[in-house]
């Protein structure tokens, strides 16, 4: 009951000094809001990378050429399949993109030149039609397998299989549709089209370099061993360590996790500093408040308030300021995160960061209230009333 009343009294003194209380809160608001917004940006980036990597399929190794002279030939890729232990599939990948047109609809979409093995490597399932075939690759056929999001966005309910489309003004036939991997996403892995890499080479004319190889190993252990062996092979071929960039998906996931940890640490430091500054603001206000309200403290003591009751009142006041600042900070931070997602990179609110920021704000608020509150409580009644 005394607690409720202390709340009421504290609230009233906060309201009575609106501007001052708000300024005291501002540090906490900015601290909490920036932590929440920043973490949501980091979280969004991490999630989208992680999703992308996961959609690549498990036990996959990507090899990228690093330099103009580093060319991957179909023969080399075939050779790797037998030379490297534990490799189940290996295929060249040519990335391209362009305009896909069907009747009067068109979308811009990324495209990948691959072989029939892409279905197994990327762990896709067909929703309809057929996969690319060896014959398609050998004969450079103008056939496409389209992702689920492409089917949905371009064909609008019509079954794409057998439809004639134009990809960068070249006529293609859709032979297959993939099942969605991430049905909730408009963009990403499901919004890609796949064609024979030989066809892609022809489309691109002179720039038809194979700069990426996708390899799928039999298991996780085989994948990391294969990655080591691949690095050795390319080192021997080009006599420099960075000619080919070999990275297993597990390595990438680890790297993303590491990146995430660094970022979390950095954001934690920012959070700590800004909330500390907020806490100093609160302490300053509380000290002013104690000085300004010496008489009030004297009156309360004269009518019989215990030191602990005075202490409690000032602590609650500090906690309310920081708590209210924390709540406003959560709202502002969430709003900022929403706006960033609207106009910039993807964001993802993390309930963990919200809890931590709010909890830390309360803690800092209470801690910075302790000293002024103890000062207030220790006053002699006559000294306070003078």
């Amino acid at each position: 009951m005394t607690f409720l009343l202390s709340m009421k009294l504290a609230w009233r003194s906060i309201v009575a000094n609106k501007v001052r209380s708000f300024l005291a809160m501002l540090g906490v608001i900015i601290g909490v809001a920036s932590v929440i917004a920043l973490v949501s940006v980091g979280q969004g980036a991490r999630l989208s990378i992680q999703r992308h990597l996961e959609s690549l399929g498990s036990n996959v190794i990507e090899v990228h050429s690093q330099g103009w002279e580093v060319r991957f030939t179909p023969e080399l890729i075939e050779d790797l399949k037998t030379r490297v232990a534990g490799v189940k599939y290996a295929m060249p990948v040519i990335g391209l993109g362009g305009n896909l047109k069907w009747r009067n609809n068109f979308i811009d979409t990324p495209a990948q030149g691959v072989t029939q093995d892409f279905l197994e490597i990327r762990e896709f399932k067909l929703a309809g039609g057929r996969n690319l075939s060896e014959v398609d690759v050998r004969q450079r056929r103008r056939v496409l397998v389209v992702g689920a999001a492409v089917a949905k966005q371009l064909f609008r309910g019509v079954n794409p299989v057998g439809q004639e489309v134009y990809f960068n003004n070249q006529r293609f036939t859709v032979v297959g549709v993939l099942a969605a991997k991430m049905p909730d996403q408009e963009y990403g892995i499901d919004r890609t089209i796949y064609l024979p890499y030989t066809t892609a080479q022809r489309l691109m004319g002179g720039a038809s370099r194979i700069d990426t190889i996708n390899i799928k190993a039999a298991g996780a252990k085989e994948a990391s061993q294969a990655a080591l062996q691949l690095r050795r092979i390319f080192f021997k071929m080009y006599r420099r360590p960075d000619a080919a960039y070999v990275m297993s998906r597990d390595d990438m996931l680890k790297q993303v996790a590491e990146m995430n940890r660094t970022m979390t640490l950095m954001l934690g430091a920012i959070a700590g500093i800004s909330l500390l500054v907020g806490g100093i603001g609160i302490m300053n206000i509380m000290l002013v408040s104690v000085t300004e309200r010496t008489r009030e403290i004297g009156i309360r003591k004269a009518v019989g308030a215990q030191n602990s009751q005075i202490l409690g009142q000032f602590l609650i006041e500090a906690a309310i300021i920081s708590g209210a600042g924390g709540i406003i900070g959560i709202l502002v931070g969430s709003g900022a995160s929403f706006l960033i997602r609207r106009f910039g990179p993807p964001t993802a609110l993390s309930s963990f960061s919200i809890f931590v920021a709010f909890g830390f704000a309360l803690l800092v608020g209470a801690a910075s209230g302790v000293w002024p509150a103890a000062k207030a409580a220790a006053l002699q009644p006559t000294d306070a009333l003078r």
Partner: protein, 254 residues
């Protein structure tokens, strides 16, 4: 309860320290006040009246000597116990009222009861009762700023009264009031005293002092006289109020 004296002070001294300078405010005061007495303390400015009242009210500790309140030695008590004594046994009235401006009259009166931990309903009932008794029935939700000086002092008395103290100590309670408002306060004091509350008030107005039954005079930190007011010379505030011209209620008197 059974103590012969309500307030008993023996050779009390008080020395204020201002840096290296020592200011002796009380130089050995001895006095005893029986339960139910009404005493006025007089003396020139700086003679130590407020210092004595603060010690009697447990707002400050004496430098030397002994002080017994209702038979209990106060000097050995902890801060915690002193707060509890202030809360339960003593009602202190100040010249400058000392109300909390951010609270209503009612909440101000509830304050000591809050610190005592009384349930809200009981608090509210007692506070209303005290304010009604002091003629402030229509002012319960007013802020002190909206009240005249006399009304504020009556709120302060209600605050003391609601706690049902055994002693009321008043340091120049009528010092800031005009004669009619002051007289109304004195009328309340005489009524409370008639009901058995021990009452000590500081004044430098001889006419105010004559409302009590005993007058102590301080000079330079010592008691220089202690005399009874002859019953025929004692002023009854009620009788005096009947012949004073009526003041308008609610007007801010200074």
């Amino acid at each position: 309860m059974s103590a012969a004296f309500m307030l008993e002070v023996e050779n009390v001294t008080k020395v204020y320290r201002l840096g290296r300078i020592k200011v002796p405010a009380l130089r050995g005061v001895t006095l005893a006040i029986r339960p139910g007495e009404m005493v006025a303390v007089m003396g020139p400015s700086g003679s130590g009246k407020s210092t004595l009242m603060n010690i009697l009210g447990c707002l400050d500790r004496p430098t030397g000597g002994a002080y017994r309140l209702d038979g209990e030695e106060v000097g050995k008590k902890s801060d915690r116990e002193l707060a509890s004594i202030r809360n339960r046994k003593i009602g202190f009235i100040f010249q400058s009222y000392n109300l909390l401006p951010q609270l209503t009259a009612l909440e101000n009166v509830e304050l000591p009861l809050i610190y005592r931990g009384l349930p809200a309903r009981e608090r509210r009932r007692r506070a209303e009762e005290a304010l009604v008794r002091l003629g402030l029935k229509d002012r319960l939700r007013h802020s002190p700023r909206e009240l005249s000086g006399g009304q504020q002092q009556r709120v302060a008395i209600a605050r003391a009264l609601a706690a049902r103290p055994e002693v009321i100590l008043a340091d120049e309670p009528t010092g800031n009031l005009d004669s009619r408002a002051g007289e109304e306060i004195l009328a309340v004091f005489q009524e409370l005293n008639a009901e058995g509350i021990t009452l000590v008030m500081v004044t430098h107005d001889p006419n105010v002092a004559r409302h009590s039954e005993r007058i102590l005079r301080l000079a330079d930190g010592r008691i220089v006289s202690d005399e009874r007011v002859r019953p025929q010379e004692r002023i009854s505030a009620r009788e005096l109020l009947a012949v004073l011209p009526a003041a308008e209620e609610g007007v801010n008197e200074k």
